[in-house]
Each structure stands twice: as structure tokens, then as C-alpha cells.
């Protein structure tokens, strides 16, 4: 089942104004940078973006915010982004902030055919407003619903022609669950190999969740907070 597309242009065919996109990554780590570049180039508007973070001013989803392509962000943490804060506080940008664990689990649920689940996260806070509360084992929980997207765009380290993906280190983060939850899932990888090259035991995202895969042209992999210790 060959899922390979030639390049990022082909990978994003069909993305239209007003669609809901999931974008993998945590901070700037494991984000689909080639696809984000292409989205900026396409100029698609009124997007709802589901992504744990919103990039920084001049990288990641921050680029789409600068270009005013995003109508609504669904995220857990959006610091480190002045343009974001400006658009949000001025009301230009709708923002739905979700506890990080609930965001991850809601994406997984969307991909796993689980329409809703109970979690203790957010009980008693504004996150719980309008949501059903139920007590289990003496502890109140709120009902959270599944998230899905028209396109899920993820970034992996290695991928094969069948769409199997392997992530590297902490660049895995939200990518696997978002890959599950896209009606169409696009994977950009650093290294694309023939089917049979990757050990079936090591696959993080089985190819069944991936509709299109391509090798990214260039990965900047910017570091947000470079912290080091002194060489002794």
C-alpha cells in the first residue's frame, strides 16, 4: 500500500479554507516544518489549528498566525508568542485552551472511535464549564469529547513507503495521536525508506493511520531554549 507522494505540494492537496488541521509537535520539537511552510505559501485561511503550542513569532505555527491564516487555535500552552497574545487579547483569534493531557487523550479518542471519556483534569476550573461532571471513586471527573481533523499533519524521524513511522526521542509527543485522528493524515519524515526496512517491532505509528508520506526537503529543527552545562 504505497502512500508516498512526491513532495510537500502534493502532500497538502485538498486543504481548503475553513478546515480543521491537527499539527504535531511540542514547542518547536517534532513540528512538521515543511508542511507549515507550504501552508503559509498556499495562504489557506480561516483554519482551526489543533496543536499543543502555537510556535514562536517567526517559526512554526507562528508563521501562520503572522499571515492571519488561523481563525481558531486549540492548544494547551501558547506562551512565547507575542503575535499570538496580541491577536488573542484583541479578539481577532479564537482560542480554546485545553489541559495538555486532555488534549492528547482527546486526539487519541478521536482516532480510536471513542467519542467521550471522563478525566479529573480541569474539574472546578473554567475548563469544566458546560461539561458533565460525574464522581468516580469519590473524585469528580468531567466528560471530555473526541477531537478529529480534516487533515492531521505530523512529523516523524523515519518512515517507510507504507506510511509506518518512527519518531525520535521527545519529538514523538503529540504526533502519534494526531496521526490517528486525521481524516487524511500527512506525514513528513527526515528519512523515507522502502517497506520492510524498518523493524515491525519498532514502529510507533502503523501505516494504517497514514494516507500520505513524503521526505521533507529541509529541517531546520530550531531550538527554543538552548540550555547547556559547562564542560568540566
Amino acid at each position: 500500500m504505497n502512500k508516498v507522494v512526491k513532495n510537500v505540494e502534493d502532500a497538502l492537496v485538498g486543504i481548503e479554507d475553513g478546515m480543521t488541521l491537527m499539527l504535531g509537535g511540542f514547542g518547536l520539537c517534532g513540528i512538521p516544518e515543511n508542511s507549515i511552510g507550504q501552508l503559509v505559501k498556499l495562504g489557506t485561511k480561516n483554519l482551526t489549528c489543533i496543536s499543543n503550542n502555537a510556535g514562536v513569532d517567526d517559526f512554526g505555527i507562528g508563521l501562520m498566525l503572522q499571515a492571519k491564516q488561523v481563525k481558531k487555535m486549540i492548544s494547551s500552552y501558547v506562551g512565547e508568542n507575542d503575535e499570538f497574545e496580541r491577536q488573542m487579547l484583541s479578539g481577532e483569534l479564537e482560542v480554546d485552551l485545553i489541559p495538555q493531557g486532555s488534549l492528547a487523550e482527546r486526539c487519541r479518542a478521536g482516532g480510536a472511535g471513542i467519542p467521550a471519556f471522563f478525566t479529573p483534569a480541569g474539574y472546578g476550573t473554567e475548563v469544566a464549564e458546560g461539561k458533565e461532571v460525574r464522581v468516580f471513586n469519590g473524585k469528580p471527573h468531567i466528560l471530555e469529547s473526541a477531537l478529529t481533523a480534516d487533515f492531521a499533519i505530523v512529523k516523524a524521524w523515519k518512515g517507510d513507503t507504507e506510511g509506518n513511522l518512527i519518531y525520535k526521542a521527545a519529538a514523538r509527543n503529540f504526533n502519534p495521536m494526531m496521526a490517528m485522528a486525521g481524516k487524511i493524515t500527512v506525514a513528513e519524515v527526515e528519512e523515507l525508506v522502502p517497506a520492510g526496512t524498518l523493524d515491525p517491532n519498532h514502529i510507533h505509528t502503523p501505516g494504517i493511520f497514514v494516507q500520505r508520506i513524503f521526505q521533507g526537503e529541509k529541517f531546520e529543527k530550531r531550538i527554543e531554549q538552548r540550555t547547556v552545562r559547562k564542560n568540566d
Binding site: F26, G27, L28, C29, G30, N52, S75, S76, Y77, V78, G79, E80, E85, M88, L89, V95, L97, P99, Q100, G101, S102, L103, A104, E105, C107, R108, T119, P120, A121, G122, Y123, G124, T125, E126, V127, W157, Y167, K168, A169, A170, A171, R172, N173, F174, N175, P176, M177, H204, K221, R222, I223, E224, Q225, R226, T227, V228, R229, K230, N231
Partner: protein, 219 residues
């Protein structure tokens, strides 16, 4: 004398128990890793998908794919593992992480915590904090006793939007260690040389003060 950030971290590190998995929030909590008592074996979880976080990398050895939840470049220790965010919060929500240390803007005497939003002014988002405080059995808040305007952050009731309700058990500030129980703060220890009077004056919430308040002890 009031503690500095490192002192707060060092005092919190005394709470660590052997065999614990620990999640350290951004800021002061991160410093706790520098003061693990001898003979205590703990492992650090980072909610972006790492178990077994190590120190910062040496200059030139940073890996963009290996960051902690504060987006800082880090390393791992032998026996580390990587996993996705859903599994990471399964660990947290499922109470497999024994201790969470995090910062706060406000804590109230019934254990409420606020640390993610100042309406109309600042909204960074709750990140993983709501999951952490709703799930962890042990939550220690590391923070300064007062805000920059000099107002107490140790309150009868939080004024900012909440992160979690009735979840904080212990607060360590530059002045004191406070325990929260029965709807009140209890003064457990004071920083070396800090007077009980100073702590009382800087605490807005109800504070139970025992006859003798021992000083914190550092080796």
C-alpha cells in the same frame, strides 16, 4: 534570611523519597533536580514524553529532538524511555508519578491553585498543570510568598482562574514550609533567620502557628 530560588529547591528536595517518579514544573521546580539527597534514587518524568531526564547537555551536544517540558535542551540517564503525550499523561492521570512540584501565582487555604491565566492580561495556557494537579497524590508548590507588588500569594481564596481545586498539600516559599489541611495553612518550618512574625505578616490566608516553629535544616 529568606531563601533564594536554589534554597527553595533544596528544601523541596528533602521531601523526595527513594523510588519516586517525580515531575518538576518550569522555573524553581526544575532546580530541585540539582539537590537530590544522597542515597535517594528518583527518576524525573517530563510530560512531553520522557522518563529518566538527565542534566543539561554539554555545549555542542544539544539535540533539538530532546527537550523537556520547558523546551530546554536536556539529556537522559541510562534506563530512560520516550513515549507519546497520551502515554505520558496516562502516567500522570493514572497516579504512577509520585510527586509533582510546580509553581503558582496563588494558593488558597483549601488547597486551590491558580497559575495559568490573568484575565485580560496574560494567558499562556495551563499546559499540563491541570492534569498534574488533578491527579497527583503529592503536590508541592514552589513559589515566592508574595508577588512583585508585595501582596501575599498565600490566600484565603484564590482570585485568579483556578488550575485545580483542593489539591495542594504543601507549599515551600522563600520564607516557610506550609502544610495545607482542614482548610488552613499550617506553619511547619521557617527559613533560617526568618521570624514567625514576618511569615504571619506576609500570609493572607488563615495560618496555624505552633508554639515552636523549627528552622529549615540544610546539610
Amino acid at each position: 534570611m529568606a531563601l533564594d530560588k536554589n534554597g527553595i529547591a533544596q528544601r523541596i528536595a528533602q521531601e523526595l523519597k527513594n523510588g519516586w517518579y517525580v515531575n518538576l514544573g518550569i522555573g524553581i521546580p526544575t532546580l530541585v533536580a540539582n539537590y537530590i539527597p544522597q542515597g535517594i534514587d528518583v527518576e524525573f518524568q517530563s510530560e512531553n514524553g520522557i522518563l529518566g531526564m538527565g542534566p543539561f547537555p554539554f555545549d555542542g551536544e544539544e539535540d533539538a529532538d530532546l527537550i523537556n517540558a520547558g523546551k530546554q535542551t536536556i539529556t537522559t540517564v541510562p534506563g530512560a524511555s520516550f513515549f507519546d503525550s497520551a502515554t505520558s499523561f496516562a502516567m500522570i492521570r493514572g497516579q504512577h508519578v509520585q510527586l509533582t512540584v510546580l509553581g503558582a501565582m496563588e494558593v488558597s487555604q483549601n488547597g486551590d491553585i491558580a497559575n495559568w491565566k490573568i484575565p485580560g492580561k496574560m494567558v499562556k495556557g495551563m499546559g499540563g498543570a491541570m492534569d498534574l494537579v488533578a491527579s497527583a497524590e503529592n503536590i508541592i508548590v514552589a513559589m515566592m510568598h508574595s508577588n512583585k507588588a508585595g501582596e501575599s500569594k498565600i490566600l484565603k481564596a484564590c482570585t485568579l482562574p483556578l488550575t485545580g481545586v483542593g489539591c495542594v498539600k504543601k507549599v515551600v516559599t522563600e520564607l516557610a514550609v506550609l502544610e495545607i489541611k482542614d482548610g488552613k495553612f499550617h506553619l511547619i518550618e521557617r527559613a533560617p533567620g526568618v521570624s514567625v512574625e514576618e511569615i504571619i505578616s506576609k500570609t493572607e490566608g488563615d495560618l496555624v502557628v505552633p508554639e515552636v516553629v523549627p528552622e529549615m535544616h540544610f546539610d
